[in-house]
């Protein structure tokens, strides 16, 4: 197995103990921990060169502006964007999706049009489209899932009729870990005349993402799931789409000129960045992209694949465990949802926490999907670069403890 054990010491929080036990953090799909390399960069900016960006004619502002724009360049390189102006900083994947949904949808959708989503989406890739559908009269459709937790590609042509103006889907499910064949889906949808948006919030930190190969029109992701800070994320889009979109928010910095009877916008990407941006968070995201790039996203994918295989093997030791996700490691990443007999996911999570193991329990902000799985809630263990086989072993020991407390096996 690929050895990432040297990375763990980079993450200060992983040194701590919870309830007297060493912390085993298995909830990175909700939000990842941060390496010192990110924390230090952010701290240094605040201590040495902080000022607002794109405003002041003085040294500190110049330094801040340079660092902020360099961070954009790092994020652009991380997803292999054609240029840094194709990357818009947003508050996170959610805001990025709302930016596309409202910025494009409000002017390009009308009654009779369709927005195609899938049964696997996070609420962030459902609710903005519902809001826009309600205002424009467009309808929503959802590509179904197969019995083995994949998107039903056979039915895609049937769903991609000429009413579909936009297809927005996840690059990696935050519940089942499923990684759909993004490029294949994107190619088919674009050939059918639909705009393609990929929610890459999970994908971007589990596998290499190259927007030149994904064939999508836009992708969105959050900083905090990829070792960066909260409050920052990105929208990458083809320049033609960014030009065609109206700003989702108005305010300072996004304008070219403001007159009493109307305004003109700043060039992309700035026309989408109203107000003072999360400057230091953006710089932190740049440092996180550097960290992942230095680690190597091919290696990150291999590590996640191997660790997922190990975890699925160990979970199979417990007959009461039922995993909701593909068995094929080529089609999935390191997010594993499961149930343990009839024991409710919250009870499992509380007892695991007492053993030092942090997992998520619930519907994972994907209620239509958990409803389709036929369970009220699942336990979810998810991996990051800092997780090891020992963490999986601690999870297994914890699950045995849960069964002991509930007097079942």
């Amino acid at each position: 197995m690929i050895d990432f054990s040297h990375l763990k010491p980079d993450f200060p929080v992983l040194q701590r103990r919870v309830h007297g036990k060493p912390l085993v953090f298995l909830d990175s799909a909700a939000s990842s921990q941060k390496p010192a390399q990110v924390l230090d960069v952010m701290d240094t900016v605040y201590r040495t060169s902080y000022a607002n960006v794109h405003r002041g004619a003085y040294l500190l502002s110049e330094e801040s502006t340079t660092a902020y724009e360099e961070a954009r360049g790092k994020v652009a390189r991380f997803v292999n964007a054609g240029s840094r102006s194709e990357v818009v900083f947003t508050r996170g994947a959610t805001t990025a999706l709302n930016t596309v949904a409202f910025g494009w949808g409000m002017d390009h959708l009308q009654a009779g049009d369709r927005i195609l989503l899938t049964m696997m989406e996070h609420h962030a890739n459902i609710v903005p489209w519902q809001l826009v559908a309600r205002r424009t009269g467009a309808e929503l459709a959802y590509l179904p899932m197969t019995g083995d937790y994949r998107l039903d590609l056979d039915r895609l042509p049937e769903y991609l009729d000429d009413r579909v103006k936009i297809f927005s889907f996840t690059g990696m499910s935050n519940v089942t870990g499923t990684m759909p064949p993004v490029a294949e889906l994107a190619r088919t949808a674009r050939a059918a005349g639909a705009l393609v948006v990929v929610d890459a919030a999970q994908l971007v930190t589990h596998a290499p993402v190259d927007v030149q190969k994904l064939e999508a029109d836009a992708i969105v992701f959050s900083g905090h799931k990829m070792l960066g800070p909260t409050g920052i994320g990105a929208l990458w889009a083809r320049p033609s789409l960014l030009e065609a979109m109206e700003p989702f928010e108005g305010g300072g910095e996004m304008i070219s000129d403001v007159r009493l009877d109307g305004s003109t916008w700043a060039p992309v990407p700035h026309k989408f960045e109203a107000g003072t941006p999360p400057i230091v968070e953006a710089i932190g995201l740049g440092a996180a992209a550097d960290y992942l790039e230095k680690t190597g996203m091919e290696e990150v994918r291999r590590h996640g694949r191997e660790l997922t295989g190990y975890a699925l093997g160990r979970l199979a030791e417990l007959p009461a465990v039922r995993v909701f996700g593909p068995a094929d490691l080529d089609r999935r990443g390191g997010v594993i949802s499961f149930t343990l007999g009839n024991i409710h996911a919250h009870d499992v999570a509380t007892i695991l926490d007492q053993e030092g193991v942090s997992v998520r329990a619930g519907h994972h902000c994907a209620k239509p999907l958990t409803r389709a799985l036929g369970v009220p809630a699942t336990v979810r263990a998810s991996f990051q670069v800092y997780n090891t086989e020992e963490d999986v072993d601690a999870l297994l020991a914890g699950l045995r403890k849960v069964q002991e407390v509930f007097h079942v096996d």
């Binding site: 309830h19 409710h344 996911a345 809630a377 407390v405």
Partner: protein, 150 residues
């Protein structure tokens, strides 16, 4: 603080065999409770004779804390007058209120659930703040059902 303090046998028993499970036809009071974060769900039917609760039926799904709390509640309120149930709701909420000193609510600081019979078993939930809303769900739903009746 051990995990066994939370998962007392009486809680596990009520979770496995929930009492007064089901629905009532034409209930005198009804409410549905949901915990949007966890997805715990509960529906509660009450039958009254004058100001006395004579039948309780609960359907729900959720964690052992939410379901056992509902089951124990159903036993505790059956046969009680609305005034008595009102007091019980206040005492239970006071037991679960970790912001307020139990003594100020007139409860024994060492055993804030002493007045509650079996329900005292849920006292351990106080030490697991994220689970308090699970224990409270049935009681919030009950208060809503009674309020809706008035």
């Amino acid at each position: 603080m051990s995990i066994e303090e939370l998962y007392r046998d009486v809680i596990l028993d009520h979770n496995r065999n929930p009492r007064n499970r089901g629905t009532l036809e034409h209930p005198d009071a009804h409410a549905e409770g949901i915990n949007p974060l966890c997805g715990d769900e509960l529906q509660l039917d009450l039958r009254l004779d004058g100001d006395r609760i004579v039948a309780v039926a609960i359907l729900g799904q959720g964690c052992s804390i939410s379901q056992s709390s509902a089951s124990m509640m159903s036993q505790a309120i059956k046969g009680k007058t609305l005034d008595e149930v009102g007091d019980l709701i206040s005492t239970f909420k006071a037991m679960m209120d970790i912001e307020t000193d139990p003594a100020r609510a007139g409860l024994d600081p060492d055993r804030p659930g002493a007045l509650l019979g079996d329900l005292e078993a849920l006292q351990g939930v106080r030490k697991f703040p994220v689970r308090i809303k699970c224990a409270n769900l049935a009681w919030t739903t009950l208060a809503e059902a009674l309020q809706g009746r008035r």
